[in-house]
Amino acid sequence: MQKNRRVYRFAAFKGAFDMLPLSLAVLPWGVLFGSLAVQRGFTWLESQAFSAIVFGGAVQIVAIELIADNASLFTILFSALVITSRHFLYGLTLRERIKGHSLRWRLSLGFLLTDELFALSGHRRAYKSRLRLYYALGAGGSFYLAWNIWTFIGIVAGASLPDLTELGLDFAIAATFIALVVPSIKSLSVLVTVIVAGVASVTFSIWQLELGLIFSGLLAMLAGYSVNLWERSR
């Protein structure tokens, strides 16, 4: 069936619209990164380049602090690898859906595959049609744009702005993820997954465990998988 460009553009806009709460939620962190980078002695171009080509959230903030402290190259790269390790899991999860698409789609969606885009990838038919690919491109691309604009604002005006991270904009992340997770709890195995993930992530966060997110995620997946096996063997 031939679909015209208007339909694809609409799908991309829908993606950008669904991403909007998450794009706004990271405003304080983008601004914080931009202003921190300038304070730590990075040029405007370098600071913006972090967001434009690394595009990594927490990784960027940790990296500029480490570079400013004259940490070794190995320390910087290893910390980045630790923080970014969860993305391997996203790639694995979406592998069967994306690996058959053209190189251009794979490269662009791969580059845009943040926590936020992964969150919007749970639909049964996600990435399975051209329309769904454009939806993801709109979602991921708009988030990229937002992150870079927030960084720019931080670079230009950072020193004169108050700390925005206490505003509570991150509640939008919590609300969006709740909206995505709760309706997916249709079996005991998913319920157990969510409970284990909640308890483990909160515990690890209190312990300030660096790898807490990926540990609690894997633990919860193992729990859900086991319950699923047990359910099927009954």
């Binding site: 669904d18 790639g91 609300a175 993930a197």
Partner: protein
């Protein structure tokens, strides 16, 4: 020198995101692996959002005057009843803002 590090960081982050999307990578996911990965969405999303709701300055905050908790409970009920992302985010945000104005 800074640009060299930025470039290396970009390479690491991009590799972590792209690696398994590459079909020529000799990885075959069996039925068990796929079953296991089916739980990655709810697992990771919950693991990201629960500390936002319940942890403040590395301490558990279960008090009902914690705006994140009150608004999250409303959002959970909204998500359960409506299964609609806009209603859930909208209602949760309204309650979150109301908390701030008291």
């Amino acid at each position: 020198m800074n640009f060299f590090i930025i470039f290396l960081l970009a390479l690491i982050i991009f590799t972590s995101r792209y690696l398994f999307l590459e079909g020529r990578l000799p990885v075959r996911l069996g039925a068990n692996a796929r079953d296991f990965l089916r739980f990655s969405g709810p697992a990771v999303l919950t693991a990201i959002c629960m500390p936002i709701i319940l942890v403040k300055d590395s301490e558990l905050n279960l008090a009902l005057n914690n705006p994140y908790l009150g608004a999250a409970i409303v959002a959970i009920v909204a998500a359960w009843k409506t299964s609609n992302i806009y209603w859930t985010v909208g209602l949760g945000t309204v309650v979150f803002i109301l908390y701030g104005s008291f």
